[in-house]
Symmetry: C2
Subunit: 101 residues, 2 copies
């Protein structure tokens, strides 16, 4: 589960190199709740490869004029859907509803 892709080890300057996004933009997307870097002991932000990919998606949507708030909503919906899919795949769909009867 927790592979290299998800380890938060990349500093913001490298993220800038990798994504082309300005440091200001990267920090702003965090402020808006789109990404969640960790912090090193002394407060430096640390990102994962997964964060990099997410930032690239965010950049695409921003270019289309999508606002950060909408991007966030889209991300939450996608997450919800994938949770539902997980339950269906595991055959827990009925179990879930049976509990409510």
């Amino acid at each position: 589960m927790s592979s290299y892709k998800d380890k938060k080890v990349i500093t913001i300057g490298i993220v800038n190199e990798l994504t082309g996004l300005s440091v200001r933009m990267i920090r702003y997307y965090e402020e808006r709740g789109l990404i969640f870097p960790e912090r090193s002991e002394r407060g430096t932000r640390k990102y994962s490869f997964a964060d990099i990919e997410l930032l690239l998606e965010i950049a695409n949507k921003r270019e289309e004029g999508v606002q950060t708030y909408e991007i966030k909503q889209d991300m939450l919906n996608e997450k919800k859907n994938s949770n539902v899919r997980d339950k269906l795949r595991r055959g827990q769909f009925n179990a879930h509803f049976n509990m409510r009867k």
Copy 2:
């Protein structure tokens, strides 16, 4: 081939956090030809997860008293062996020698 594991994106400070090795030691092992970080535009060293793992192995050997030169020789031998294994696996072993006749 070129996965997250091999991308050079980790700064030396983070490598220090991850391995417990001092910045001085990390630079010295490079000087001795044991690791090969890339450099960012402005000269900052960048390491991969593979480098991190290699550094941990180096640290183990150093604790056993193995000198950097010997560690390097071991690494070269391992590489040579894996190359031979590759050729055997691909059935190129004979092809290789046939060419020399």
